[in-house]
Subunit: 296 residues, 2 copies
């Protein structure tokens, strides 16, 4: 197996959309430009979901216009449907991400549509993206548990991941949205999906709500995954658990990977410095233990 | 392999001795009594190291006199030498713990003695403990790195662990004192020691300074260890990295173990409630993500 792991930095999107505090557009642009200088290859920049649902990222077009895109770095943006895709395309997005859940009830609550209806909504997005030469990433949320239905059957996760892959997503990110997973369950979930979708087309996306993210990532690396989503400074939160942690911190993931002899291409001190800068901008405690330890 | 994991709760000793804030004796007693009601089997209660070095635990004898000891629970206390042992024995300790480092320079800085000199100091402690029917646990610190010498050769860890075991310690706790270890290194270290000391006589002790503790524990569980040190509420800190995290939180370890289908005998909600109470007493942020998530 390769020892290169690609980190998909989701802080500017998944992190900031779940922070209470509104971040100035200029700070978002600075954040992404700083991240671009760390060696990251994928930086999820913003979301073209309606500002009605995600007011924190209402400035998506301005952010896309303001950042300095570097060659070799992908800047995917979240799109919920064809309208969102049109806005993203107009903003010059070279990669988009679509999303659905493995839990029917979560998907209905979150997007006002059942899973199959979501998949149908994405069909024209994938068609247009293909014609435009835009890559599409697919998110599956609630892969290890749902705040409404509790346990999520593995078969449901596999079905949704396979559907997204078959519909043309080049990569499927498997998300433990509420961070309840533990290593053996995470590994079993990944193995089940990898039986139907090639491991090279899979990514893992853990939230650290219950402190398990890094242990889960280590287990999934053993299973063979080589793409990991994370957010600098561990930004974000959990709408289902007040005061809880958000995304796993990119710094902590990179520290672990480098300690395991894996390559990420990332300059860890520069990444950690960016995380500390972001914590200061947000006026919150740095969610990365590595970021704190490196400053100590 | 057994699916029972014994948690050695070190919060009242390793946690509190590294908190800046002085905790009232009555609160320490309440903490231990609450912990005794959670199903824990081992609670490290305090330290008989000279109050000159550890002023936070100067009330060791009062704590030992004040707690309600339950049958089936061990309440080990730290002792540095024969004098400390005499004080611990006078306080009625039924188990003591001795400590040395795998790094010569760390040991000299920390205890004013070389490793071999430390081991010699413990000989009379072990002799007296044997005569008194008191069990002795041995700590090896800096097993995955040292703040002074950096890398610590595995052979040094193995040598010290074996010496403590041969001298009569029933259990050797392998401590990543500065929390720099990552899963593959943790696993390789444990494997090397287990080649010389039976796995059943080994425990792992991780600090979460760099956020790696839970991932390291998961790797060591795979390797076969079944005793894990941790501190409720993730108390403690790191004298070598300001603002850094302390011991891995017991709640987070227990949540992971239960999620992996392992048994600890511990009532997790009661443990998490104790961690939240302790955070309030200390006036600090709860260091357990599980503790926060369960309150959410």
């Amino acid at each position: 197996m390769s020892d290169f792991v690609r980190i998909v930095e989701v802080g500017p999107r998944d992190g900031l959309q779940n922070e209470k505090q509104q971040v100035a557009t200029a700070d978002k642009i600075t954040l992404i430009d700083r991240l671009s200088a760390t060696g990251l290859r994928s930086i999820e920049a913003t979301s073209f979901v309606s500002p009605k649902w995600v007011p924190q990222l209402a400035d998506a077009a301005e952010v896309m216009a303001g950042i300095t895109r570097r060659p070799g770095i992908a800047y995917p943006v979240l799109v919920p449907n064809e309208q969102g895709y049109a806005r993203a395309a107009a903003a010059g997005a070279d990669e988009v991400a679509v999303f659905t859940a493995a839990s029917e009830q979560f998907n209905r609550t979150n997007t006002n549509a059942g899973i199959d209806e979501s998949l149908q909504r994405f069909a024209p997005v994938l068609e247009r993206a293909k014609a435009d030469g835009v890559k599409v990433r697919g998110y599956v949320s609630t892969v290890l548990g749902c705040p409404y239905q509790g346990e999520v059957p593995l078969a449901d996760v596999v079905r949704v991941a396979r559907a997204l892959h078959e519909s043309g997503c080049y990569e499927i990110s498997l998300g433990d949205t509420i961070g309840v997973g533990t290593p053996l369950k995470a590994r079993a979930m990944l193995r089940a999906v990898a039986a139907e979708v090639p491991m090279a087309a899979l990514a893992v996306h853990f939230h650290d709500t219950w402190g398990q993210a890094l242990a889960n990532i280590a287990a999934c690396l053993e299973e063979g995954v080589r793409v990991v989503d994370s957010a600098v400074g561990g930004t974000g939160g959990c709408p289902y658990a007040r005061g809880a942690s958000g995304n796993v911190a990119s710094e902590d993931v990179v520290y672990m990977l480098h300690g395991m002899g894996m390559d990420t291409g990332i300059d860890l001190p520069a990444l950690a410095e960016t995380g500390r800068w972001l914590a200061a901008v947000l006026g919150r405690d740095n969610g990365s233990k590595v970021g704190k330890a490196m400053a100590g």
